[in-house]
């Protein structure tokens, strides 16, 4: 656990800016302002209401942090977290290029070896079994065509 004194306040400011941008720029450009029938609410009412609530509670968060010095005990982001997120995004891109059935063994082996190089023969076996289960269950039994990727589509 790590205690940064003003993290909550900074998050609050970010959310407040987000709510202002959403309320004044995004919502008017993304939702047509039409009402239907007598007493009907405009389609933008609920998104605006949610944004107003985010804005109000962000102000509460900022005040509670800067004035009352309330800071929740946030957790430190681990050293490998950004790399794992990178792996997740890379896997996504790889699926879109070569498809799920080819991208998955590459991703799984790379991430397993990145985490520990000790038992790589076991990794290969696990990956083969995993791919077979996916192929049989989704493609053969459920007849779902798994993403093929633009190279094989």
């Amino acid at each position: 656990m790590k205690k940064n004194l003003y993290t909550d306040g900074v998050i609050g400011i970010g959310l407040l800016i987000f709510s202002i941008v959403m309320y004044f720029f995004i919502i008017p450009s993304q939702i047509k302002n039409i009402t239907f029938g007598s007493g009907g609410l405009a389609p933008s009412t609920f998104p605006k209401l949610a944004i107003v609530l985010i804005g109000i509670f962000s102000i509460c968060l900022i005040i509670s942090n800067f004035s009352f010095k309330i800071q929740t005990t946030i957790e430190k982001i681990g050293p490998k977290a950004p790399i794992i997120v990178f792996f997740l995004i890379g896997y996504l891109l790889l699926i879109s290029i070569i498809g799920y059935l080819f991208a998955t063994p590459i991703f799984l082996l790379l991430i397993m070896i990145y985490l520990s190089k000790d038992k790589w023969p076991r990794y290969i076996l696990t990956v083969i079994i995993f791919i077979l289960i996916n192929y049989i269950f989704f493609e053969k039994i459920l007849r779902i065509i798994l993403p093929k990727g633009f190279l094989f589509n």
Binding site: G39, G40, P43, A50, L53, I54, F57, G78, K80
Partner: protein, 499 residues
């Protein structure tokens, strides 16, 4: 009601339901026993496999996984002193102490008996209370329903985490994201940014797979992996691995206390099985004749929290089935599964889908039997292996399942992207202590709440003051304001003590 229940029992007497329950309970126990994987993740990972099943089979399998997961958490709590799930944390105190005394088999068995009994008692409560409550809730109109949703969300946001304000922000973010898609009354696009895939809104299942499974994977892998902790095995003396009738009778009081608390806590939105198990432990200890022995490895110290956390399951299904309001994350996910199957939880579910609902009740009974059976087998043969599964292999595989699972429902790659986005978002929420429960539940309930309020305003020709002719709605809205004030004052008081 008895006739409907009998019809339900007959409808589930087929191989598919049995196979569904067996696989649900087994996967739940295994995933629950692995530290880092919870009952919630078990349900989220199983859902993709249930899309194409019959509603009764699908829901039975998921509830089986929920129950199995709740019990499975106690296996690692007892054998390695690390709870497989948050709900099993209280079980460590006496469970691990008992295992260290060489009685791990006895501890695992009493945890199983207490879990099954807690489940059974809460199921009876569900079967008795839910249809009666549904009769009452049938009378509530759109504005009462809207007020009920606002009230429940406030309670969930206020009780969910360390900071009430962050809970409220999370709920508001959930409300905002739920408005993405076509407007429910007029049908024009809202916040779709020109993407046709968003017309039907953000798909719930990829979102929740991302929100719950991916952050857990990142959290488990973000630091260098530690070597596995030693697992305490079963004793070679048979008596140490069994629970005698005398010992079981000694635990009955604790089981009943735990079950009662579990049902109550489950029925109140926003609390969950972790609180239930701690409260059950504490209450049973306070009422014990020898409270000083608690913590040294006594059998009642396992029975109370285990009955307490499993009884939450039936209790939590009461508001979900009768009011359409899920009180906790696993139940919100289950509600998502109901919606996918075309079953809309709420007062009408008993009249519109009676046979299916009673079929699910009947399958819950059967799943208790299988929980007992599979639990026995797990204790005897496999339990120690679950606790020491290699994280290097397991968590990448979980990621693989998340990708294929989020693709499977709508068969669109866009859903996989949604899953990844929410995975990273959920991880940041977790790190910065924004509770996920209010976010998810707000996202599920917003469409119902919005539709209800807009229906009311159309009927009342825009006169919002007509709400004062609806006393239940007024009471709920006043209670919402009172709770909001109480929560925020409590937060500020806590802050002053921190300073």
């Amino acid at each position: 009601m008895l006739e409907s229940l009998l019809a339900g029992i007959i409808s589930v007497m087929n191989v598919n339901v049995f196979l569904g329950i067996i696989s649900g309970v087994s996967v739940g126990i295994i995933l629950g026993a692995i530290p880092g994987l919870t009952a919630t993740i078990a349900i989220a990972l199983i859902i993709p496999f249930t899309f194409y099943m019959d509603p009764v089979v699908s829901i039975s399998m998921l509830i089986g996984a929920y129950k199995g997961g709740l019990y499975g958490g106690s296996i690692s709590a007892i054998l390695i002193g690390t709870p497989g799930t948050d709900a099993a944390a209280a079980t460590i105190i006496d469970g691990y102490a008992m295992a260290k005394n060489g009685k791990s088999g006895k501890a695992l068995r009493i945890a199983l008996y207490a879990s099954v009994m807690g489940d059974m008692i809460s199921l009876l409560a569900l079967i008795i209370i839910a249809p009666m409550l549904a009769q009452v809730t049938l009378k509530i109109g759109p504005i009462e329903f809207f007020a009920l949703i606002v009230f429940s969300l406030t309670i969930i946001a206020g009780m969910g985490g360390e900071s009430i304000i962050k809970g409220l922000i999370a709920a508001s973010l959930g409300l905002l994201l739920a408005t993405v898609g076509l407007d429910p009354i007029i049908g024009i696009r809202r916040l779709c940014f020109g993407m046709a895939e968003l017309d039907s809104g953000i798909a719930i299942m990829p979102m929740l797979i991302g929100l719950f499974a991916i952050p857990e994977v990142i959290v488990q892998l973000e630091y260098p992996l530690e070597s596995n902790v030693p697992v305490l095995g079963l004793s070679k003396i048979p008596a140490d691995n069994k629970v005698s009738w005398k010992e079981f009778k000694k635990c009955l009081k604790s089981i009943l206390i735990g079950s009662g608390i579990g049902i109550l806590i489950g029925a109140i939105p926003g609390i969950g099985s972790s609180v239930s198990s701690w409260l059950s432990y504490k209450t049973a200890k306070d009422r014990s004749k020898y409270p000083e022995k608690w913590g040294t490895g006594i059998i009642e110290g396992i029975a109370a929290p285990e009955a307490g956390n499993n009884a939450v399951c039936g209790g939590a299904l009461i508001p979900m089935l009768t009011l359409g309001v899920p009180g906790s994350i696993p139940v919100a996910i289950l509600m998502g599964a109901f919606l996918i199957q075309g079953l809309i939880p709420g007062p009408m579910i008993f009249s519109e889908n009676g046979p299916v609902v009673y079929g699910i009740f009947a399958s819950l009974f059967i799943s208790n039997f299988f929980l007992l059976l599979i639990g026995f087998l797990a204790i005897k043969y496999t339990a120690p292996y679950f606790c020491n599964v290699s994280k290097v292999i397991l968590f990448p595989i979980v990621i693989g399942f998340c990708y294929v699972g989020s693709f499977a429902l709508n068969q669109t790659f866009f859903d996989v992207k949604i899953m990844v986005i929410f995975g990273v978002f959920g991880y940041l929420m977790r790190k910065y202590k924004f509770p996920a429960a209010p976010f998810l539940i707000a996202m599920i309930l917003e469409p119902f709440g919005e539709r209800a309020l807009r229906q009311f305003l159309i009927i009342s020709r825009g006169q919002i003051t007509l709400v004062f002719y609806h006393p239940i709605a007024v009471v709920l809205l006043v209670l919402t304001i009172i709770f909001l004030v109480v929560f925020i004052t409590k937060n500020l008081k806590k802050a002053r003590t921190v300073i």
